[in-house]
Symmetry: C2
Amino acid sequence: MRTYLECVPCFVRQALDASRMVTDDPAVHERVLRETLRLAAEMPFDRSPPWMGQRIHKLLRDATGNPDPYREVKLHSNALALELYPTLKQRVRTSTDPFAAAVRMAIAGNVIDFGCRSRLADDEVHQAIEDAMAPHAPGFDNGAVDDLRRALEHASDILYLADNAGEIVFDRLLIEEMPMDRITLVVRGGPVINDATREDAETAGIISLVKVVDNGSDVPGTILECCSPAFRARFEQCDLVIAKGQGNYETLGGEDQNIFFLFKAKCPVIARDVGSEVGQMVVCRNRSQNEAGSRAPPIHRETADRQR
Amino acid sequence: MRTYLECVPCFVRQALDASRMVTDDPAVHERVLRETLRLAAEMPFDRSPPWMGQRIHKLLRDATGNPDPYREVKLHSNALALELYPTLKQRVRTSTDPFAAAVRMAIAGNVIDFGCRSRLADDEVHQAIEDAMAPHAPGFDNGAVDDLRRALEHASDILYLADNAGEIVFDRLLIEEMPMDRITLVVRGGPVINDATREDAETAGIISLVKVVDNGSDVPGTILECCSPAFRARFEQCDLVIAKGQGNYETLGGEDQNIFFLFKAKCPVIARDVGSEVGQMVVCRNRSQNEAGSRAPPIHRETADRQR
């Protein structure tokens, strides 16, 4: 997804919010803000928003001298999710459709996203779970869940692209309902915002369940040209990708691979792009796959409209 | 008032909103956005927000080649307000306290502000009037209105600094309740946003009631060093200033003059600075006057706190 002009004020706000979240030093706040303005002024808008997110959060790490400013946030999110895990596992297992319940749980966990916001109360996580498990969650596409179920049956090499710390515990619930011997979990190659790295996969207890690799990049999404050659080869060779979170949707929506995106729409630009509403759970495929006959809604609707 | 860091994302958003409001040309939107980012990156934050507003709106005029992009908006606001005028005049005259009612009306008119936003429905103007006339309008300082009443009795040379088109018709209601022979109405020296210029004073029918001068500047506020020498001399010589709108508050709050500010608090930064809430009507004096014993709340509260 390209960067829309209305993403730009949001970058500036997020840079300020993030700098205030990770340090009390007003000189750092001002420096990060001014550098973000300079970067945004020259940004190529055909790049996706995570391209800018990577740069802003590198600025933040450089300005604070802290290589992982969200470490405490990530530890807290993991601890909160692990505390919830036994109860959530029980809810999934006793559900009439454990796979669908686990998909909903995995998307509920996507509320733990410090890319869009700088504060998240534990209660909001609890609320996201209840909203996700409501029988008639608005906009939720049960047909797309069935498409994913069928795709999993036929796939032999599955990449599961994780998004955030804390959320990765919710991903474990879904991974445990999938053919684990055919799954490789992918985490970021280095700290950026609260995105999950190998350490979080270990904390979530996933490392003993499936293979875990990192993508060699600190983009809060998956920009293939920024990833390691090893990951790019894995991405090309696999026959199914499950990509969590807005950042992965923004960066991989245009790729010619068999991808299912699972996320909560948290910003109006992405909600419009995917044909959803802010706050809704999204299960959708990338356009090339959708054109092959999926029931999931098309993505990049605006682009499609323009081409007609 | 200095520019707070949280003003900066708002500048960027406003620049984009404003460019979209005045033209459909996406190249202009992008150019104004990028130039605003460059300007904001280098802005001295000890300057007030209208310093930046002037530059953004000059960019907009240059990029569109339109010397007055808000002309249609201003004409509409004036027409709307003039249509309401006879009814509002009747409400003021039949009020138990016409002066206080006219102060409320003048502040209600301050909702017609395209500096903070790019859309305003006529219904919002009607609603602002009803809110302003409610007996217990939240946060409204009746004591400050009495201070203003007394100040008017003793002043021999009064400047009334207008803010916006449309709003200036509401100002007429207040001016008509004041000693008109001692009042000079001040408008902006050139078009900027929807701020009132001489043409709007004519349209509002004020030009036949009081003297009207312009301040020689296209700042959406009153930065004295940007104003004409003639206006600066008038400002120094007068013994009372009534300043409408956030822009005048932001630029004149630190001046050592006898100033009453009348506005609707429309942004959280200004509301916090003045000790009010967003949406409330504010009547307050500048700090130097307040320290002399006014009942009005102090302004620049944060600065005052820091100095204790």
